[in-house]
Amino acid sequence: MPAPDGGVALVTGGGRGIGKAIAQRLGEDGFTVVTLGRTSGDVQADVGDPASVESAFAQVRERYGPVLVLVNNAGERQDGLAIRMKPDQWESVIDTNLNGAFHCIRRALDDMLSARWGRIVNISSVVAERANPGQANYGAAKAGMLSLTRTIAREMARKGITCNAITPGVIETDMTTDVAEKLLTGVPAGRIGRPEEVAHAVSFLCSDGAEYVNGATLAVDGGLAA
C-alpha cells in the first residue's frame, strides 16, 4: 500500500550529519519532511524528555500533519572507559539515544495506527553488534534500539506499520571525526561511508517496495560488522 497523502516524515536530529542527509533524501522522495532538534530544526525538543516530545509532536501535527514516517536519528556520545564513566554520562546517552527513540515511537504510533500506515527507521550503530571500548553507554543504547525495533515490528506488523533499524559504520560526520581514522583500518571497504549512503537505505525502508521488510537490521558499514 502506498503512503497516504498528507503525512509527515519526522527526522530527529535532522539538522546535521546523517540526519540532514536523511531529511534531504526523504524530501526528494516526495515526503513532507520535518526536522526535530534540541535547539535547531523545524521543531525543538529534548527527545529524552517525554513531555518535551509530546509537545513537539502536538506542534508537528498542528503545523504540518500526522507523523507517518519517523526516523529516530537523534544521538549523542559521551565516551569513556566504563570504569571511569560517571552515572550521568551513562544516563544522558541512554536518555537521548534509546529513551528518546521510545518516546518518539510511542507518540508517532498514534498517528500511524489511525492511518493504518507507518514507517519507523531507527538509526542504530555498528557498535550495537561489535563492541567498541569506551562506548559502553552508546553501545548499550544502540543495541537496545535493535531490540526495540524488533518488538515494535512484531507488535505493529498487522497494522501496516513497519519498524526497521540501520547500523551505520564509520560515517563521515562531525560526530566521528575524532575516531574515524582509528576505526578505518578495520573497514573492509577501505573507506569511510557517506551520510548519503545511510540516507539511501532509509529511503528504501520507507518506500512502498519495503512493505514486507519488518524488524530488520540493515548494516551500512562497508562490511565492518561482517
Binding site: 495506527l113 505493529m156 497494522k159
Partner: protein, 87 residues
C-alpha cells in the same frame, strides 16, 4: 442527556469494522473478544476510540476485567456518568 447503550454499541461496531474485525457490524454485547478475534492491540485502538468519542479516560485497571462488548458498553456508560457526559 445521558448516552444510550445503542450509541456505545454503534461506536464499538464502527471501530471493530475500522480494525477489520470480521462480523463487526453484527457484534452483540454477548460477544467476547475471543469470539471476535480481537487482540490486545485491537483493544488499545478500541479504547482510544471510545475515549475520544465519549470524552472519558479508561485506565489500565478499568480495562483488565473487560472481556466482551457488553463489558465495554457498561464500563463506558459508567465512566461517562462519573466524568460528565458529552451531549
Amino acid at each position: 442527556m445521558a448516552i444510550q447503550e445503542a450509541d456505545v454499541l454503534d461506536e464499538i461496531r464502527d471501530q471493530l469494522e475500522a480494525i477489520k474485525v470480521p462480523g463487526a457490524r453484527e457484534a452483540t454485547p454477548d460477544n467476547t473478544w475471543t469470539d471476535l478475534d480481537v487482540d490486545s492491540l485491537d483493544l488499545v485502538e478500541l479504547v482510544k476510540a471510545l475515549e475520544d468519542r465519549f470524552e472519558i479516560t479508561i485506565s489500565d485497571d478499568d480495562l483488565k476485567p473487560i472481556e466482551s462488548v457488553g463489558d465495554a458498553i457498561s464500563l463506558t456508560m459508567r465512566l461517562v456518568e462519573a466524568e460528565g457526559a458529552p451531549a
